[in-house]
């Protein structure tokens, strides 16, 4: 029985914190965010020095041989700082390539992604759900609209699920520079994880595995996305709460620190309680990576973390008062993350539908 971080994992976290203190202070994060791009330098450092996207992958395919818990710790710390790097999209892509690709595809595609040389992104949508909007023809040309692809402008390729003419869902790797790929550049709700709508019109993709994808394997790819997003939201929720708490200690009204008012204090406590619930659920999902229960646990993790970040980010704005609704103050960046990720892999209602199917009927 040891359902907590071990010494090495705590050490890993503190190394990450030092690194991110250097590369992801709020000023730098905001400067990069204004460009709508990723922080290429930080991503390079994370890939080369921390084996960022390779942490949980097997050593024989070029991974670092840790567990998904380590990657989740990294996701938490990135969520905390809102650093604009494509960790989670990359982890979805590598999971798709390694679980669904042929040996030759893994050999060809994985290395450059793990080194950070190439960026392969993926929408935060279940692969099978993508296939409702995207269709492949017999030659592997894809047509359909993607509402939002994170990091689309920076990406060399993207992973997408598409319905196959013979039935079933195929998972494709699509170079973003290919003919028939149109990226609609513009504003993003989440300023620190920007993305774009992408229209595919006969874009040529490479079918991973060369055949229709196995649904259990696709579930596993989706589960990696949900689990790491849950970790990201837990980290973001902790930080936005901590910023609110610090503000409540400094800001004075009625000749008192506002944090001494129960009306303000309880906004912080409510966020704290939500995080207290969400954090172990997120860890549980990461811990069960690759097990039968992983997919169901990932839905629970995403749902609970989204609830926690939504409460924490909303309450943080409220604690900050008018200041909290200014562009220059930090809270809206976390609120934007909360609002954006609430939609990832289905909103709360969609998540609960899945939970009913997976958990309530199984119980």
């Amino acid at each position: 029985m040891y359902f907590d971080y071990d010494e090495d994992q705590n050490e890993f976290r503190s190394v990450l914190r030092q690194l991110l203190a250097q590369y992801a202070d709020m000023e730098r994060v905001r400067t990069v965010a204004e460009t709508g791009r990723i922080d290429g330098e930080l991503w390079g450092v994370l890939c080369s020095e921390m084996a960022a996207p390779a942490l949980h992958l097997d050593e024989e395919i070029g991974g670092a041989g840790f567990s998904l818990v380590e990657t989740a710790i990294l996701a938490q710390e990135l969520g905390r700082t809102l650093a604009p790097v494509p960790l989670i999209a990359t982890a979805i892509a590598t999971e798709a390539i390694t679980r669904l690709g042929t040996e030759a595809q893994i050999d060809a595609e994985l290395g450059p992604v793990l080194s950070g040389e190439r960026i392969v992104t993926a929408p935060f949508v279940a692969l099978a759900d993508l296939a409702v909007a995207v269709h492949a023809d017999a030659a592997g040309a894809l047509t359909g609209d993607l509402d939002f692809v994170p990091h689309a402008v920076d990406a060399d390729a993207l992973i997408v699920g598409a319905s196959l003419p013979e039935g079933g869902v195929g998972v494709f790797l699509v170079p973003t520079g290919a003919a028939g790929v149109a990226i609609d550049e513009g504003d993003s709700l989440d300023l620190t994880r920007a993305g774009s709508p992408v229209r595919l019109q006969g874009a040529q993709g490479e079918l991973l595995g060369g055949v229709a994808a196995d649904s259990v394997r696709m579930d596993r790819v989706d589960a990696v996305g949900r689990t790491l997003l849950a970790a990201d939201m837990v980290g973001a929720a902790r930080e936005t709460l901590s910023v609110a708490v610090e503000y409540a200690k400094i800001r004075r009204q009625f000749n008192r620190q506002i944090g001494s008012f129960q009306g303000v204090k309880h906004l912080c406590s409510d966020a704290s309680i939500a995080i207290e619930l969400a954090h172990p659920v997120a860890d549980w999902a990461a811990m069960t990576y690759g097990q039968d229960e992983f997919a169901a646990n990932s839905v629970l993790a995403k749902y609970q973390a989204s609830e926690a970040l939504t409460v924490a980010a909303s309450n943080s704005i409220q604690v900050h008062g008018g200041m909290g609704f200014t562009w220059e103050a930090v809270p809206h960046l976390y609120f934007r993350r909360a609002a954006a990720l609430a939609q990832a892999y289905g909103d709360a209602n969609a998540n609960l539908q899945v939970i009913y199917r997976e958990v309530a009927t199984a119980a």
């Binding site: 359902f3 659920v281 609970q304 939970i355």
Partner: protein, 417 residues
């Protein structure tokens, strides 16, 4: 990270399971399936079975007649009893054994240990707790029960309230004010008072759900010996805090078990009522299952921290805030499922239990309506939700306390009213 229990703990679990199996009547379906008239007798018999197997005072060291179980063994026992819907003893035992017994072991004199511990175990002394008062709820340290020294006795006057199982008790541990001239926390002392005397009167309180689980206890020149004070004069607040610290997370993993069972029965109720296809009901049920999963995950995190000694002192406040709000919400879902049938509660009730009904209680409208009504109490007793949020904000996050208006001698702040 991993969530498997150590081999020794699993071996202990097997032992407990076979103990449970061999000590239950054939066709056992839970206390709730017994007629109300038989329940008390069963609990008494069950208490004896626990005592005979040294499983009654498991948190006490062996030298005091306890089970001397390790933390993980206590956790496993609590899990298995919860799973089977069996009590750890009578309701008074929780107060006598877990709270007072452990406090005496930690802070009692050798004479107090020799006098009281065996009688707690034998059941000769049946304990209740006298903390809350009409004028001291959340502000417990503002209590007024007055104790004045008279020779080798303390003379006690005043009132305690919300005393659970007061009618079945013959001793009460109470905090009393022994010095009104000092700051309120410092003027308190912890007294053990026999209830079988003319100066002590117990009156049941009928609660909003119509049950009488609690009592008022009135003291009129009641007396107890000077040797029946735990700690010194003025140590009452410290002793009370020691006592309240004895929950220590042994029940970290049981909330998910008992609430999980409730949500299972709620899902069953939805099917029986033919509303399990309703998307709104489904959404609520899914939310309930998600919350039980979160309680399970958090419980195992707390268990790990209990075993490693890394737990947070605020953890109990999170637990209380989480389960009390959950209890409210899912029992409201129950009335949603029942619909108009909730307006005429029928069938077996919750027997006046604070939270979940006994295992084996029928899936009746009265049981769920009772629980829904009790949901209102859950965020009040045992430290209100708002007090728990204060503790979380202040102790976990370092937020400032409200400015205090209750400094100075206790007699001065009460005189001002």
């Amino acid at each position: 990270m991993e969530i498997s229990y150590p081999t020794e703990a699993e071996a202990f679990r097997t032992r407990i399971r076979s103990f449970i199996e061999s000590n239950l009547p054939e066709g056992w379906a839970g206390i709730g399936a017994l007629a109300e008239s038989e329940q008390e007798a069963f609990v008494a018999k069950w208490r004896q079975a626990l005592a005979d197997n040294n499983l009654l005072a498991v948190s006490w060291p062996v030298e005091y007649g306890g089970g001397g179980l390790s933390d993980i063994e206590q956790v496993v026992l609590a899990e298995e009893l919860t799973r089977a819907g069996l009590p750890e003893g009578t309701e008074n035992d929780t107060l006598g054994i877990k709270l007072l017994g452990n406090t005496l072991i930690a802070l009692g004199t050798p004479e107090q240990k020799a006098e009281f511990l065996p009688k707690i175990l034998s059941g000769e002394h049946v304990w209740c707790q006298g903390f809350s008062e009409p004028e001291a709820g959340s502000d417990l340290a503002g209590l007024r029960l007055k104790a004045v020294r008279d020779g080798d006795e303390w003379v006690v006057n005043g009132q305690k309230t919300w005393t659970s199982s007061g009618s079945s008790a013959n001793w009460i541990f109470a905090i009393a004010r022994t010095d009104p001239t000092v700051v309120k926390h410092r003027g308190l002392s912890f007294l053990l008072i026999p209830m079988d005397q003319p100066g002590v009167e117990v009156r049941p309180i009928v609660n909003a759900a119509g049950y009488t689980a609690f009592t008022d206890v009135y003291f009129t020149d009641a007396r107890t010996k000077v040797v029946n004070m735990v700690g010194g004069v003025g140590d009452g607040w410290k002793v009370a805090n020691t006592l309240l610290g004895f929950e220590r997370g042994i029940r970290a993993t049981t909330d998910a078990i008992r609430f999980g069972r409730e949500v299972g029965e709620l899902t069953e109720l939805a099917k029986q009522r033919g509303v399990d296809g309703d998307p709104f009901i489904r959404r609520e049920l899914a939310w309930c299952h998600a919350r039980v999963h979160a309680m399970r995950a958090r419980g195992l995190r707390m268990l790990t921290q209990l075993l490693e000694g890394t737990g947070s002192p605020v953890s109990g406040s999170y637990s209380k805030a989480i389960w009390s709000q959950f209890f409210q919400r899912y029992t409201e879902v129950a009335t949603q499922i029942l619909g108009p049938a909730a307006l005429a509660p029928r069938g077996q009730g919750n027997a006046g239990l604070l939270t979940v009904a006994h295992v084996g209680t029928e899936n009746s409208s009265k049981r769920w309506v009772d629980e829904m009504l009790y949901g209102r109490a859950a965020t009040v007793y045992g430290g209100s939700l708002q007090i728990q949020k204060n503790i979380i904000g202040e102790a976990a996050h370092g937020l400032p306390r409200e400015p205090r208006l209750d400094g100075g001698a206790f007699q001065d702040i009460t005189a001002a009213k």
